[in-house]
């Protein structure tokens, strides 16, 4: 059996990769994917904790996270579409009219 901490470390690593993706990629859709990675990393932690505790709360929370992810995806992608319509780009560094 693999101890809890292995899952947690994996989760942390995944989360970090997601964070790195958010910071590095220029394409906003990919950035958003990286955020999904972060959420999934957290989900892994939840499920692992739930298993460790022997209680299903963690799994229930994962449902909610999925709902949130879906909601965010719906709204977020709509925002991207709007952005693309207005600017013909999805490059993060080209969206900086508002600054200083």
């Amino acid at each position: 059996m693999v101890p809890l901490s292995w899952y947690l470390v994996l989760s942390a690593a995944l989360f970090a990769i997601g964070v790195a993706g958010v910071l590095l990629r220029r394409n906003l859709i990919v950035v958003f994917m990286a955020i999904e990675l972060m959420l999934n990393a957290v989900n892994l932690s939840f499920v692992a904790f739930a298993r460790q505790l022997g209680a299903e709360d963690g799994q229930v929370i994962v449902f909610f996270v999925m709902a949130v992810a879906a909601a965010e995806a719906g709204v977020g992608l709509a925002i991207f579409i709007q952005l693309f319509r207005a600017r013909e780009t999805l490059q993060a560094d080209q969206v900086s009219t508002l600054r200083w």
Binding site: M1, L10, L14, I17, N40, V47, M66, V75, Q82
Partner: protein, 163 residues
């Protein structure tokens, strides 16, 4: 789940995750994301969270990532000129993300590493989950409905061309 399987799966998962980040083409990134989600679902099986496993595949990998792909296709997004910014920036982000991982890992592994206890009969079953969902998590469940309502209204408002 045996340690060997875990390590292999973990390596694959991390590899897929890195592929999401590093792939030049957003479509490939999306595919890598699907892979990551699928690989993750394997861990859910290992953790005896079968319903979550199912939902992960159906809802997440199925619905959400498809939505991503759909948008990518719709917008016909070009591949980026260069995947990554300047090496210094990459190194900085790498260090930052690494520190984050190390920090969290440090926090979570300070507890004594005990083996996972056995779980009760029916752990992770839909019945159990449903019971929790509609008792202890009734309020969050209801809030979720509001959230989805918001998302629908929002997506419609933002997406439609004319009011």
């Amino acid at each position: 789940m045996s340690p060997l399987v875990f390590v292999v799966l973990a390596a694959l998962t991390l590899g897929a995750a890195v592929a999401v980040v590093l792939n030049r083409n957003p479509v490939y990134s999306a595919l890598a994301l699907v892979s990551t989600l699928a690989l993750l679902s394997c861990f859910f099986v290992g953790l005896e969270a079968y319903l979550v496993w199912a939902l992960q595949l159906v809802v997440y990998a199925g619905a959400i990532v498809v939505l991503f792909l759909f948008v990518i296709m719709l917008l016909n997004v070009q591949r980026e000129e260069s995947v990554l910014p300047a090496p210094g920036v990459v190194a900085g982000v790498g260090v930052g993300a690494g520190l984050l991982a190390l920090g969290v890992a440090h926090a979570v592994t300070r507890a004594p590493a005990v083996a996972m206890p056995a779980v009760a009969e029916g752990y992770g079953s839909p019945a159990h989950l449903a019971r929790r969902l509609f008792t202890d998590y009734l309020v969050p469940f209801e809030i979720t409905s509001v959230l989805l309502l918001v998302a629908i209204v929002g997506a419609v408002v933002l997406g439609k061309r004319r009011i």
